[in-house]
């Protein structure tokens, strides 16, 4: 990306749009004056999420917007314990679900909201939808999840990178040569064959995302295209978000 060095730069201030929570929200938190924008990128491992996000960070910063990245499972509060729990796979679904929700709440209150208040562009590498989709595949109740994540702030935009299961397998192998236990849903015991598990599990997750899309109305982006094509598409859509009233 090239920015003309001597050109007089006009840096656009994003239009302010009021924020709101999905449900009950967070007690003691004022959502007024959150001038930043919350942009979420969702998609399976191998959908190109992280690459797209780092490109977007570059683009944002190049355009004069202070930017911060957040992701799931990075909170100071519980991320270490969560890793430990996942390694042993000893937690029940409800427990794991609540553990992730705790982690999410910690980040929402301590990273996302303060950054939005300071007028930052917040790029979230996954948000509540991934957490919900994983839980839904594991039989958690929709209404229960909806209430739980009523604490979440409604993002300004949510992009779901939709990539076919075959593509995902190829991209995962190109990166790692092994399939991740959790990303393959091995705990569900769908098959004894990890490859089958991965394909079946990703299909189940994709189905839940389609259901969530009808409720939360996020934008589905065709992730089977080249990195550049997808990024251009995202930038174009985000530009609209920034001027939206």
């Amino acid at each position: 990306m090239h920015i003309k060095r001597n050109a007089k730069q006009h840096i656009r201030v994003p239009t302010y749009t009021p924020k709101r929570f999905y449900g009950h929200g967070i007690p003691g938190l004022d959502v007024n004056k959150l001038t930043g924008k919350l942009i979420v990128v969702e998609g399976a491992d191998g959908s190109g999420r992280s690459t797209q996000i780092s490109r977007l960070v570059e683009w944002f910063e190049g355009s004069g917007h202070a930017t911060v990245q957040v992701g799931l499972k990075h909170s100071t509060l519980v991320s270490k314990e969560l890793d430990k729990a996942k390694q042993g796979n000893i937690l029940s679904h409800t427990t794991l679900s609540l553990f992730y929700a705790t982690d999410f709440a910690d980040q929402l209150e301590n990273s996302i909201i303060p950054a939005l208040r300071a007028g930052f562009m917040v790029l979230a590498d996954r948000y509540i939808y991934t957490l919900m989709a994983r839980d839904m595949v594991r039989g958690m109740d929709d209404a229960w999840l909806k209430n739980l994540y009523g604490m979440a702030l409604e993002p300004d935009a949510v992009f779901y990178l939709n990539v076919s299961a075959e593509q995902l397998v190829q991209r995962n192998f190109a990166k790692n040569l092994t399939l991740d236990y959790w990303e393959s849903g091995i705990d569900l015991g769908l098959s004894r064959d990890w490859f089958d598990c991965f394909v079946q599990y990703q299909a189940l997750i994709a189905r839940q995302f389609q259901r969530l899309q009808t409720i939360y109305g996020f934008t589905i982006v065709d992730g089977n295209r080249s990195l550049e094509e997808v990024n251009a598409d995202l930038r174009c859509k985000i530009e609209q978000v920034l001027v939206e009233k």
Binding site: H24, L77, T95, F99, W144, N147
Partner: protein, 227 residues
Amino acid sequence: MKTFAELGYPGRLIAVEGLDGSGKSTQIYLLKRWLELQGLKVFFSEWNSSELVKSATTKGKKQELLTPTTFSLIHATDFADRYERQLVPLLRAGYVVLCDRYIFTAFARDTVRKCPPAWVRGIYNFAALPDLTFFFKAELEVSLQRILDGRPQLKYFEAGMDMKLSPDPYESFRVFQGRILEQYLAMTTEFHFLVIDANQAIETQQSVVRELVASKLNLAAFTLAKM
């Protein structure tokens, strides 16, 4: 919400609730001893005791990292872990499960911390109701005195310091406990609390508790099989 009996479990769950210093832990311990000495299948579980979750809770509390929302969620996580891994299997196996604090502790504390009550109750709605809930109702001053006499070093969250009720931990604790008591009283009818006058002698309270348990549960059904 239904009780374990209503859900057809062979086991029964007895919970005790009350303020810190109400003497509930002493009472549930004596109840446990009584049941054990009769050769019954008994299991005791304490609030906030799941090993794995505890490390996060301890860290959160020590470093004062918790907000009302994360405080609520981390306790729910702890509860879910104990509930699904221990309580439910034992209740399926016909145990009498004794809980020192149950979901009502969360309802009371989280509501005082201004979490939306419907949100908190929604989170805990995977849990069945206890078959018996004893509420140890002591005068606020008596409970306060018991705690303040014995353990003068109040912890940050225990004293409700996070709510900025008062810069003085003792004063903060008083106000906080008073508000929790209000919440308990408001739940008494809705959740059929068996109210025990905790200002009475330990022995007096224990005989009321034992009588109620004996009359409401068919204790012979929980006899431990001889090996």
